[in-house]
C-alpha cells in the first residue's frame, strides 16, 4: 500500500515539475507547482513527517504560491510564450547541465547508502516513532527547536523581520522628486 502511494505521489510530483518548466502561461506553471508541492507533502506523510507535511501544504502550497499568484496577476503576465524560452545552443547546454546534475546525484544516491543506513537506521526510526508517541507530531519537532536549536530559531525570526521590511521597501513605488 505504501509503495503504491509512493509511486502515485512520485509520478504526480515529476509530472507537475515538468509542467512547471513547459507550462505555457505562468498561472499554469504555478498550478502544476501546487500539484508537485502537494504530492511531496504526501511523501512526507509516508516518511512519518506529519508536521512538515502540514507546514508544506499550509505555508508552501498555501501562502507562498498565493504570493506568486498575486504577483503574476498584478503584473498581468503570460502573453509572450515564445520570448520566454531559450533556443539553440542554450537548449543544448541545458540538456548537458541537467544530464550531468541528474547523473551525479543519482550516482551518489543509489548504491550502498540504503544498506549502510538501514544497519543502524532501524534504531533511529524506532526512536523517532517512540518520541512521536510520547510528545506528539508537533512536540517532537518543537522540543529540539526550543532547546538545542534555539539560537537558530531566534535568528530565523530576525531573518523573517528583515525580509518583511525589505519587501515593503523594495515594492513601494518611488515618489517623484523625492528620490
Amino acid at each position: 500500500m505504501t509503495d503504491i502511494l509512493f509511486i502515485l505521489f512520485a509520478v504526480v510530483a515529476v509530472g507537475g515539475a515538468i509542467g512547471v518548466v513547459i507550462g505555457r502561461s505562468p498561472v499554469a506553471s504555478l498550478l502544476f507547482m501546487v500539484a508537485t508541492l502537494a504530492s511531496v507533502a504526501g511523501i512526507y506523510v509516508l516518511f512519518e513527517a506529519h508536521f512538515l507535511a502540514a507546514i508544506q501544504v499550509l505555508v508552501y502550497a498555501g501562502a507562498i504560491m498565493v504570493l506568486f499568484l498575486f504577483v503574476i496577476m498584478l503584473l498581468n503576465l503570460g502573453h509572450d510564450y515564445r520570448a520566454d524560452l531559450r533556443y539553440g545552443s542554450w537548449s543544448l547546454l541545458s540538456l548537458v547541465v541537467v544530464g550531468l546534475t541528474a547523473g551525479v546525484l543519482m550516482q551518489g544516491f543509489s548504491g550502498d547508502l540504503e544498506a549502510d543506513l538501514l544497519e543502524n537506521g532501524a534504531a533511529a526510526a524506532a526512536a523517532i516513532d517512540a518520541a512521536v508517541i510520547e510528545k506528539g507530531a508537533v512536540g517532537v519537532i518543537a522540543d529540539p527547536l526550543f532547546t538545542d536549536y534555539v539560537v537558530a530559531f531566534e535568528l530565523i525570526g530576525l531573518l523573517l523581520l528583515v525580509a518583511i521590511v525589505a519587501a515593503v521597501v523594495l515594492a513601494k513605488p518611488r515618489e517623484a522628486g523625492k528620490d
Partner: protein
C-alpha cells in the same frame, strides 16, 4: 523506500535546474528555484527517517528561508517591472559585462 525517494529528489532537482536555464520569465525561474529547494527538503526528510529528527528541523529552517526569499525576490521583480515593463531576464542587462 529510501533510495526511490532520493532518486525522486534528484529528478526534481534536475528538472528545477532545467527550468532555471531554459526559461526567461523571472517568476518561472523563481518557481523552479523553489522546486530545487523542495527536492533538497525531500532528501532531508527521507534521510531523517534513518538518522534522527534533526533532518526535519533543517527542512523547517529551509522552508522559512524559502518564504523570506520569495517575499524579497518578488518585491525585486515588481520593482524591476515598474522600470522595464517586462520580467524577461534578457532585458535586465545593466550589470552585464
Amino acid at each position: 523506500m529510501l533510495t526511490p525517494a532520493l532518486l525522486l529528489s534528484a529528478a526534481l532537482f534536475a528538472i528545477g535546474t532545467l527550468g532555471v536555464i531554459v526559461r526567461r520569465n523571472a517568476i518561472i525561474i523563481f518557481l523552479c528555484i523553489e522546486l530545487q529547494l523542495n527536492a533538497v527538503n525531500l532528501a532531508f526528510v527521507a534521510l531523517s527517517r534513518y538518522t534522527g529528527i534533526e533532518g526535519q528541523l533543517y527542512v523547517f529552517f529551509v522552508m522559512t528561508v524559502a518564504a523570506a526569499e520569495a517575499a524579497v525576490g518578488l518585491a525585486i521583480i515588481i520593482s524591476i517591472f515598474r522600470h522595464y515593463e517586462t520580467v524577461n531576464v534578457n532585458k535586465f542587462n545593466v550589470l552585464k559585462w
